[in-house]
Structures are given as structure tokens and as C-alpha cells.
């Protein structure tokens, strides 16, 4: 048996076990244990196969079989993986496994846990399909199934009234991007006559077709990877259960877009215009995400906006011609963002709120969670020697290098990305420090802005004991601790030659170039710390002044989207319905009514009295006689 056929198991097992899991009924007890078993088994098996292939097999792995021919277009069912793809699959597997284990604790009292676990499995399988598919259609299958799963999972929480709307928004916004994705794939496939990626990559496209197809593909990428202007769904998606946020942000969904550009990079390299579009979107996204993160009060929303910004770094790296840098950042980001979300889940689990303004002073009660946050936020901000430092450094170096020209992208794009990325280093450091200080230091604000809920007096019964937050139980704690390891150390993998060749990564060189981002980092973090010291216990975001509400609302882009897209569509739909009823259908009904009316008229005419009718008949006969008589 070809080793590559083993690769089918990587996406296949979680997908299959997920489908099996969907048939389980809701409820606690038996179905629950079975569902947990299926979920963990799916992630574990695909993780094991990935590791096996990563260690043992010779690259690249290719296996394909004919799927279907539609007209002249051949669709293959293909597995194809290079080392880089397997590393991504590994990251997906690890995060998915952590999320599955964590969810057992997080959803311990939810009767709808079985379908949830199954959906997580399918979600994971779909992402693995995108990563390992050797065919554009296979990739599209995984791509869209992820959208559907994200819809189901974001809408899972029945207690949140905003959850269904957020779920619909996530699916719809990404689906709008997918209009472009489908058309882009269609253009690529029609020209190449097949949807097999290896053939598509080597096919010789005309530059016009290529640029059009790639920009269309980028629309889909922007949707899935939450890039401007299709990023609006991601912050709202925080209505989903926290483990789902971890899954969406770290390993699936948002990573998929970056991965697809990476996969199709040989084509992108040939199209400076497409890279320029990507670069501009990336620069806007980096700053938009970072600035919006500064003013959020919801812990998860800070992290969500930080994801938007960090994915911008990845697409920025792609735009300046460094796919390796993008992938490296994708991997480290997967580690530290999964860690941050799972740790955020622990905080929310303990204090019962998402709001930073109701936290504070958590450090002493939740040491494990606190240190996880320190590692995660440090990596996010790019603090050496944590993982994020190395990968972000790599992206910055690539952008700086591309400003010299000679890369696939125009020089101005490189400048744009570089400047945006540098600014964002400072902003990221600022909001990471703010988050850490505001949530974990100072006094507890667990009882609201007015302090603890007790009154001066002698009645002890009126004094409510503050609820003491604590670190989460085992199933939630272990995944957090496990993820802290790669979040801290994964960056050092850049020194491992095997890893470097797999990603085609350049060796890290800690020269003078490192100084500038580190200075910016220190400035950002220092500013936040200084503000916190200046007015202790108060949100450093007050120093943003009038910009605060603008940032908090994400630059009001939701409102813009509502005004420019949602409402016009609704208006057109109303118009279409009115037209359908008042014009199309009314003309049909009108034909019917008119016919009946005509019938009645003729019937009426037949009702005239006999003498008069006889007279008319004779008159007619006479007339005809005269007529023909005259003619002959």
C-alpha cells in the first residue's frame, strides 16, 4: 500500500466519526461519554497518522483517484501533502485534541454536548481536508463545510440571544467571500481543464485570467481569514462557546485562508497585482485589528480583534513574498492563540462574565491561568524568547527585505506592510499589557463598579462573601498547560534545520534589525504600564479619549456594512416581492379575470329576447345575401 493512501485518514477519520456522532441523540450519560470518546478518538487518530507520516514518509506525498468528470473538467479526489502541510495538520490536530478534552469540562452541564462534539470533529476534519487536499474541489468542500460547522457551533449557546445572529453573520459574510472563491476556482479550473492542484500550479495562464482568478480567490480568503473588509463576522463570533473560539482562531477557519494562499503561492508569485491587493488588505487589517483591540471591554473580543490583526501579519508576509514567514507565524499563532482562548475560557468559567471591567485581581486566585496568560500575551506581543517573537520577527524582516525590491510584490506594498506591521507591534504590546494588568492585577471588580456588595453595620448576614475564583478543573487545566509549551518554545524551532527546510524558512539572524521592533514593544508595553500606574484600577483605555468609542465599535464598519449591503438587499427583496405579486402574478390573474369577464359578456349577449335575436339573424342573412349578390 502506498504510504500516501494513509494520508486519507487524516481528514477522513474525524469527518467520519463526526458524522457518526451526529446521529447520537442529545442527553447526558451514555451518549455523552460516547460522543466525547468519538471526538477525542477522531482528533487522536488523525494526529497519530500525521506524526507517523511526518516522521516516516518520504515527501512529497501524493495519492489521487478519479472522482468525477463533468464535461471536459476532471475532478480528482486527491491527497497531497508536503512537510509544511503536515506541520499545519499537526497544529490542527493538537489544537483540536486540546479543544475536545477541554470541552468535556467546559460543557459539563450541557445536554446538547453530543452534537457539539460531533460538529467539532467535522470542523476539524474539514480543515484537515483543506490542508491535505490535492484538488481544488476537495479544498472547496472542506472550505465550505467549515463555514457550515462554524455556523452551527457559534449558534450553539442557547442562553445568548445574540448567538443565532452571530452564527448567521459568520456564515453569510464568509459565504459572500466564497462567491469570489468559487468564481476564481472556476476560472482556474476551466483554463487548466482539471481541478487538480499540481496541474493548476504548473498551468500557463494568461496574466489577465490569472490576476482576475487570484483576486477572486482573495475575496474568499478575506472572508474566511477575516481580512478587511470581510472581517466583521469574527468579533461577533465570540458568541460561540470559548473552546470554539479557540478552534476557529487558532487552527481552523481563519487559518484556512492563509493556508490556501500559501498552497497556491506559485500562482500568486506571478501576479504582482493580486499580491498588491493582498498587501493593502493586510496592512489595513493589521492596524484595524490592533486599534480595535485596544478599547474592547469583552475579554474575548480583545482576543478576537488581535486575531484579525495577527492574520493580517500572515497575509502581509504572503504579500511581500514570504510564504514561509506566513506559515511560521500561522503555527506559532495557532499555539499562543489557542492557549489564550482556552485560558480566557478558564477566566470566564471562574468569574462568570466576559467583561474586563468586572474582573481584576485574578492573579493570586488563578496562578495557572495567570501564567498562561503571561506566556500567551507575551508571545502575542512578540516578547523574546516566546514563540511569537521569532515568527513576527521573520515577517518584519521579510517585509523590510522586500522594500529593497526584487521580490514578487511591488516595493510600495512592502513599505506599506512593513510600516503597518511595525506600528502594530507597539499597539499590540499596549493592549496585551492592558489586558494582563486590567484582568489580573489590582483589586477585584467582581461586584461591579460600586465595590463589594456589603454595607457598614453590624449585621453579618448582609455581607455577601465575595466569590473566590479558582483555576479550572483537570480536563480544562491540562490542555492549557500543554499548549503553554509550544506557545513559549515553538519559536526556537526556527533553529532546527529540519523544520526550517520543511517551511523553506530563512535562519533567524538577530541583528540590528531586531532593535526597532523591540523598542516599539517596550514603548507600547511601557505606556500601558505607566497609564495603569498613573490611575490604578482604571481601564488604561480611558487614555484613548474620544477615539475609544470609535475603536470599541471597530470603526463602525458593522454599521457601514449594514447600510451598504444588508439594507439595500432587503429593500431589493421587498421590491422583488412586490413586483412578483403586483406585476408577474397579477398579469396572470388578470388574464384569468379578463377571460371570465369576456365570457360573461358573451353570455350576456346571448340572453337577448328571441324576437330581437331572430330579427338580428335575418338582418345578418340579408346583409350577406346582398354582399355576395353584389360581388357576383
Amino acid at each position: 500500500m502506498n504510504v500516501a493512501t494513509l494520508g486519507w485518514l487524516i481528514p477522513g477519520v474525524p469527518l467520519l466519526l463526526g458524522l457518526v456522532g451526529l446521529t447520537l441523540g442529545p442527553g447526558n450519560g451514555g451518549p455523552r461519554r460516547l460522543a466525547a470518546g468519538l471526538g477525542i478518538a477522531g482528533a487522536t487518530i488523525s494526529l497519530a497518522v500525521t506524526s507517523e507520516l511526518l516522521l516516516g514518509a518520504t515527501m512529497p506525498l501524493e495519492a489521487q483517484t478519479h472522482w468525477v468528470s463533468i464535461g471536459a473538467i476532471d475532478v480528482t479526489l486527491g491527497f497531497s501533502a508536503h512537510l509544511a502541510a503536515l506541520y499545519v495538520a499537526l497544529a490542527v490536530g493538537v489544537v483540536a485534541l486540546c479543544v475536545q478534552i477541554y470541552s468535556i469540562g467546559y460543557l459539563h452541564d450541557d445536554p446538547r454536548y453530543p452534537p457539539y462534539a460531533a460538529q467539532v470533529s467535522i470542523f476539524t476534519g474539514a480543515m484537515l481536508l483543506v490542508v491535505t487536499s490535492g484538488d481544488l474541489i476537495g479544498m472547496l468542500v472542506g472550505w465550505e463545510v467549515m463555514g457550515a460547522c462554524s455556523y452551527l457551533l457559534i449558534g450553539h449557546d442557547r442562553r445568548l440571544p445574540e448567538a443565532p445572529a452571530a452564527a448567521v453573520k459568520a456564515f453569510l459574510v464568509t459565504r459572500v467571500g466564497d462567491v469570489g472563491f468559487l468564481l476564481g476556482i472556476a476560472l482556474l479550473a476551466v483554463d487548466a481543464g482539471t481541478t487538480r492542484i499540481s496541474t493548476v500550479l504548473t498551468h500557463d495562464y494568461s496574466s489577465g485570467t490569472l490576476t482576475a482568478a487570484l483576486i477572486l480567490v482573495l475575496a474568499g480568503v478575506a472572508g474566511k481569514s477575516a481580512q478587511f473588509p470581510l472581517h466583521t463576522w469574527l468579533p461577533d463570533a465570540m458568541a460561540g462557546p470559548t473552546p470554539i473560539s479557540a478552534l476557529i482562531h487558532a487552527a481552523t477557519m481563519v487559518a484556512a485562508g492563509v493556508y490556501v494562499v500559501f498552497r497556491l503561492y506559485p500562482l500568486f508569485e506571478q501576479s504582482p497585482a493580486a499580491l498588491a491587493v493582498l498587501g493593502v488588505a493586510a496592512s489595513i487589517t493589521i492596524l484595524l485589528g490592533a486599534l480595535s483591540a485596544t478599547a474592547q471591554d469583552d475579554l474575548k473580543r480583545v482576543l478576537a480583534w488581535s486575531t484579525v490583526s495577527q492574520i493580517g501579519y500572515m497575509t502581509g508576509a504572503l504579500a511581500v513574498g514570504s510564504p514561509a514567514g506566513a506559515l511560521f507565524h500561522l503555527l506559532t499563532h495557532a499555539a499562543f492563540k489557542a492557549l489564550l482562548f482556552l485560558a480566557a475560557g478558564a477566566v470566564i468559567h471562574a468569574v462568570g462574565t466576559n467583561y474586563l471591567s468586572r474582573m481584576g485581581g485574578l492573579r493570586e486566585h488563578m496562578p495557572v491561568t495567570f501564567w498562561s496568560f503571561v506566556i500567551g500575551l507575551g508571545a502575542l506581543a512578540g516578547l523574546p524568547p516566546l514563540a511569537g517573537f521569532w515568527s513576527k520577527e521573520n515577517v518584519l524582516a521579510a517585509a523590510a527585505h522586500a522594500t529593497d525590491g526584487g521580490g514578487p510584490a511591488p516595493v510600495w506594498v512592502a513599505w506599506l506592510v512593513w510600516v503597518a506591521a511595525l506600528f502594530a507591534v507597539a499597539i499590540t504590546a499596549w493592549y496585551a499589557t492592558r489586558l494582563l494588568l486590567f484582568a489580573f492585577f489590582g483589586l477585584s471588580r467582581g461586584h461591579g463598579p460600586d465595590g463589594p456588595d456589603w454595607e457598614v453595620g453590624f449585621d453579618d448576614a448582609r455581607y455577601t462573601q465575595p466569590h473566590v475564583p479558582h483555576d479550572p478543573p483537570g480536563p480544562m487545566r491540562w490542555p492549557i498547560m500543554l499548549l503553554a509549551v509550544p506557545a513559549a518554545l515553538l519559536g526556537l524551532a526556527a533553529y532546527a534545520p529540519g523544520f526550517r527546510t520543511a517551511l523553506e524558512l530563512t535562519e533567524p539572524h538577530l541583528g540590528v534589525a531586531v532593535v526597532l521592533p523591540l523598542v516599539l514593544l517596550a514603548l507600547g508595553a511601557g505606556a500601558a504600564w505607566w497609564m495603569w500606574r498613573a490611575v490604578p484600577g482604571v481601564d488604561p483605555a480611558v487614555f484613548l479619549g474620544p477615539a475609544r468609542s470609535l475603536f470599541a465599535a471597530g470603526f463602525h464598519l458593522d454599521a457601514v456594512q449594514d447600510r451598504l449591503v444588508v439594507r439595500p438587499v432587503q429593500r431589493i427583496a421587498r421590491l422583488a416581492k412586490a413586483t412578483d405579486e403586483k406585476v408577474v402574478d397579477a398579469s396572470v390573474e388578470g388574464t384569468g379575470t379578463a377571460t371570465s369577464w369576456l365570457g360573461e359578456l358573451v353570455a350576456e349577449m346571448h340572453k337577448i329576447a328571441l324576437p330581437f335575436a331572430a330579427l338580428v339573424v335575418f338582418a345578418g342573412a340579408l346583409l350577406l345575401t346582398i354582399w355576395f349578390g353584389a360581388a357576383s
Binding site: I70, G71, I73, V145, F171, L187, V190, I572, V588
Partner: protein, 490 residues
């Protein structure tokens, strides 16, 4: 050995007809089982038919099995039946859906007339529909096309909702209008070509250009009414909303397919020059149908009406595929036909189940289905997601490859049409998500009993399984289509 296939072909038609006749004289209590038995028996020759499939020499329309008997030579009417890769999936779908509907009716007969009569009508319908798909003679095709009309009218008027008479009347008059045009077209072709044999006529059969133009125009309008193509669709929502569940399933599942099948087999096959001449207009109308259908769905407030309008959009994709006149497009259309039959059949079953339980189909009054009836909500979610064209499920292939075919056709117009169709795909997602949000999420509206009866599983499970199977292995439908499609557009 080869002699058995013509017998099977006749048996496919004869068994349901015989079933209807037996029902007329059998006791009412046993009617359900008798009808189901005959519907199941009709599936046996249908399942056996593909074994007669030998790869034909390419380049010609060559059915796997054929029966040809002269009937009324003066009218060019032969009793000429045959099955090939284009018609077979629809034949199988018809057999399956009729069986499911008969089994479902044993458990739950809709209010109205006697269940026995309804079952007999379903079997007569099956005969008519199968005959339409199997006919290889234009006049015979027309006869079977007409046979389906009155039973469907009777089903709507006999077992429908409150405004059934009005809806039934509209349905029958509107489609009769289409039939008149079809008759004109059929006679035009038969008189000019001197034969009505579809095999002989394939590729034009020596018809002059102007005859083909005229005949295609007649065919196109006739089939567009049946399919229905926007703006000739307005009989559909009323008919669906008022029809009983099984009526809606048959109507959406297979009856509409007679229009798209006719357009492929007769329109494109017999009058190819006319098809090429009208293709841009057809494409524009198809894209308009996709957009109009999805936009109309966004504003619907009634469950069955929404699903009915969704058919307009989906049939738009099928017609877009046909209008490209490429092998890719026509194969996508064939896949889209079958997928729509499976998925919309399932959707109507589920809508019927919800309406029966909640006694309302008003979206504003439904809600919280996932709390009260999680399995029903799960199935509805599955069907809706399949219908919005999720890759990996049946609905995807037809819609995505209709878009691909339009791109492949090339030219500014077709690229625009492809974009409009793809945009329609996003709008389709919008209205199905709106539907799910209203029905399954949110606060509990009308309480719905969660129990699902065995007969319901019997009717739904095959559709769910096939939706998944066709999605994963589209070759199930497309296996034998490539040669006949090549022959069609040659």
C-alpha cells in the same frame, strides 16, 4: 438475455398503472399496503435496467433498452420507449419518491378525500411521469406529459389546504397553456420532419433552420412553464402551499423535472439550432430566476411557500446549465435535477411534518425547534444546508458546475451570468439561514412534539442518505451521462 430489458421497460410503466387499477377494486383498508407494494414492485425493473447498459458507440443517441411498436402511423405515433443515462436517474428518482410517498400515506393520509383515491392518483402520476422520461417518440412524450396534469390537479383539489380550488385551477390552467404550446411544437416538428422518433430527430433530423427556431420557441415556453422558469412561475407557490405533503414532494421532486428534462431531450436534442439561437436569452432568464427566486425567498413568511420559491432559484441553476449548451453545463443540469428532487423532496416532507405538528406554517409563530424537537431540527438543518449547496452534499455539484460551465462558455455575457448565479448562491444561503433562525433557533414558539414515527423515518432516511451519497459520489448520477450528452450537443 437482451430480450428481458424491453419487458422490464414496459413493466416499469405497467406496474404502477396496474396498481392504480387494482386499488380501484380493492378494499379501502388495505389500500396503503397495496399501493406501496406496487410502487416497490415498480422499483424492481428500475433497479434491474442499468444492467442492460452496454457502452454504445459514441456519437449517437443509443438507449440501453428499447421498445418500439407502431401505434398510430398516421400521427407518426409509435409506442417507442427507451432509457439511457440522461433519463435513468430521473426514472429512478420517480420510482423512489413515489414509493416513499405511498409508504408515508399509509401512516398519515392527508385530510380530504379517501386515502385509496389519493394512492391511486399517485400511481397514475408515477405512470405519467415515468412515461414522459421513457418516451422516445415526441407524440407519446406529449401524451404522457398530459397524463400527469389531471391527477396532480385532483391531488391538490382533493387533499389540499384551504384555498386548494383556486390553487388547483391556477395550476391546471397555467400548465395547460404550456401544453398547448408543446402540442404545437411537437406537431410542427412531426409534420416537417415526417417522423416523431426522438432518436432519429436527435441533432435536428434535417429540420430547416426556421422550423427549428419556431419549434424551439414553442418548446422553450412550454417547458419553462413546467420547470418553472421565472417569470412563468407564479402557479408554483400557490400549488405548493395548498398541496398536501405528498403532492408537494412529487410536484417538486419529479414533476418539475419534466420541464428541464424536456428542454434537454426535446429542446436541445431535436432543435439544436433553435437552442443555440435562444441560449443567451435563456441564460439571462435563468440568472434572473436565480436572483429573483432568492430575493423572493428572503421575504417569505410561510414555510412551504418559502421552499416553493426556493425551487424557482434552484431550477434557475439547472436552466443556466442547459443554456450554456456545453457538456459540463448539461451534466450539471442533470445532477442539479436529481439533487433538487432529493433535497426539496426532503424539505417538503419536513415542512409537512412541522406544519402537521405545530398546526401553522407561519415563520413568526414557529421557533425554538431545536429545543422542543432536536432531531427534527437537525434534519431540517441538514436539508436546508444541503439545499443551499454545501459542497459534499448533493446540491453543490449542479450549482457550482452550472457556474463553471458559464465561465467555460466564456464571453462577457456568460461571465456576468456566472457571477450573478454565484451571487444568487450567497443569497440562497441568506434565506435558508433566515429560515433556520426563525424555525430552529430562538425562543420556543408553538410547541412541537419531538417523536418521529417509523413511517417518517422510512420516508426521510433514504433521502438523507442519498443526499449525502450523491454529494460524495456524484458519479452515481453522472456515470452513464457523458456519451448521451455528447451525442446531444454534438
Amino acid at each position: 438475455m437482451n430480450d428481458v430489458y424491453p419487458v422490464l421497460l414496459v413493466a416499469t410503466l405497467a406496474l404502477p398503472a396496474l396498481g392504480a387499477a387494482v386499488l380501484a377494486v380493492s378494499p379501502a383498508r388495505r389500500a396503503g399496503w397495496i399501493a406501496t407494494a406496487f410502487a416497490a414492485a415498480a422499483l424492481i425493473p428500475i433497479v434491474a435496467l442499468p444492467f442492460g447498459h452496454e457502452s454504445p458507440p459514441p456519437g449517437n443517441l443509443r438507449p440501453w433498452a428499447e421498445v418500439k411498436q407502431s401505434w398510430v402511423p398516421a400521427l407518426h405515433l409509435d409506442f417507442h420507449l427507451g432509457v439511457d443515462g440522461i433519463s435513468y436517474p430521473l426514472v429512478a428518482l420517480t420510482g423512489l419518491l413515489t414509493l416513499l410517498c405511498c409508504g408515508y400515506t399509509i401512516w398519515k393520509a392527508p385530510d380530504g378525500g379517501k386515502p385509496r383515491t389519493l394512492l391511486a392518483l399517485l400511481l397514475v402520476l408515477e405512470t405519467g411521469i415515468l412515461g414522459t422520461f421513457l418516451s422516445l417518440d415526441l407524440i407519446l412524450f406529449f401524451l404522457f406529459f398530459e397524463v400527469t396534469l389531471l391527477p396532480m390537479y385532483a391531488v391538490i383539489v382533493g387533499w389540499g389546504g384551504e384555498q386548494r380550488r383556486r390553487a388547483g385551477r391556477k395550476f391546471v390552467l397555467y400548465t395547460l397553456f404550456g401544453s398547448v404550446l408543446l402540442l404545437l411544437g411537437v406537431l410542427t416538428v412531426a409534420v416537417h420532419a415526417g417522423t416523431a422518433d426522438i432518436v432519429a430527430l436527435n441533432g435536428g433530423g434535417g429540420l430547416s433552420r426556421s422550423t427549428q427556431y419556431a419549434a424551439f420557441a414553442l418548446f422553450a415556453v412550454a417547458f419553462a412553464v413546467k420547470a418553472p422558469l421565472w417569470p412563468l412561475h407564479s402557479w408554483l407557490p400557490d400549488a405548493h402551499t395548498q398541496a398536501p405533503t405528498v403532492g408537494s414532494v412529487i410536484l417538486a421532486g419529479v414533476l418539475l423535472k419534466m420541464g428541464t428534462y424536456g428542454l434537454i431531450r426535446v429542446g436541445v436534442g431535436v432543435t439544436p439550432l433553435g437552442a443555440r439561437w435562444a441560449a443567451p436569452l435563456l441564460g439571462i432568464l435563468a440568472a434572473a430566476a436565480i436572483l429573483a427566486g432568492s430575493l423572493l425567498c428572503l421575504r417569505q413568511t410561510e414555510l412551504k411557500r418559502l421552499i416553493a420559491y426556493s425551487s424557482v432559484g434552484h431550477m434557475g441553476f439547472v436552466l443556466l446549465g442547459i443554456a450554456t449548451l456545453t457538456a459540463t453545463g448539461i451534466q450539471a443540469a442533470l445532477l442539479g435535477n436529481v439533487a433538487h428532487g432529493l433535497i426539496t423532496g426532503l424539505l417538503f416532507f419536513l415542512a409537512g411534518a412541522i406544519k402537521d405538528r405545530a398546526h401553522t406554517g407561519d415563520l413568526a409563530e414557529l421557533g425554538g425547534l431545536r429545543e422542543t424537537a432536536p432531531r427534527l431540527a437537525g434534519l431540517l438543518g441538514f436539508a436546508a444546508i444541503a439545499s443551499l449547496g454545501l459542497p459534499g452534499l448533493a446540491g453543490f455539484w449542479g450549482e457550482a458546475f452550472a457556474v463553471v460551465a458559464a465561465v467555460r462558455h466564456g464571453g462577457a455575457l456568460w461571465i456576468v451570468l456566472a457571477s450573478v448565479a454565484a451571487l444568487g448562491g450567497a443569497l440562497t444561503a441568506a434565506y435558508f439561514l433566515r429560515l433556520l433562525r426563525k424555525v430552529t433557533h430562538g425562543p420556543v414558539g408553538t410547541a412541537v412534539s419531538p417523536a418521529i414515527a417509523g413511517a417518517e423515518w422510512f420516508a426521510w432516511a433514504p433521502l438523507v442518505a442519498l443526499t449525502l451519497a450523491v454529494g460524495l459520489v456524484p458519479t452515481l448520477v453522472l456515470a452513464a451521462t457523458s456519451l448521451p450528452v455528447e451525442a446531444l450537443i454534438r
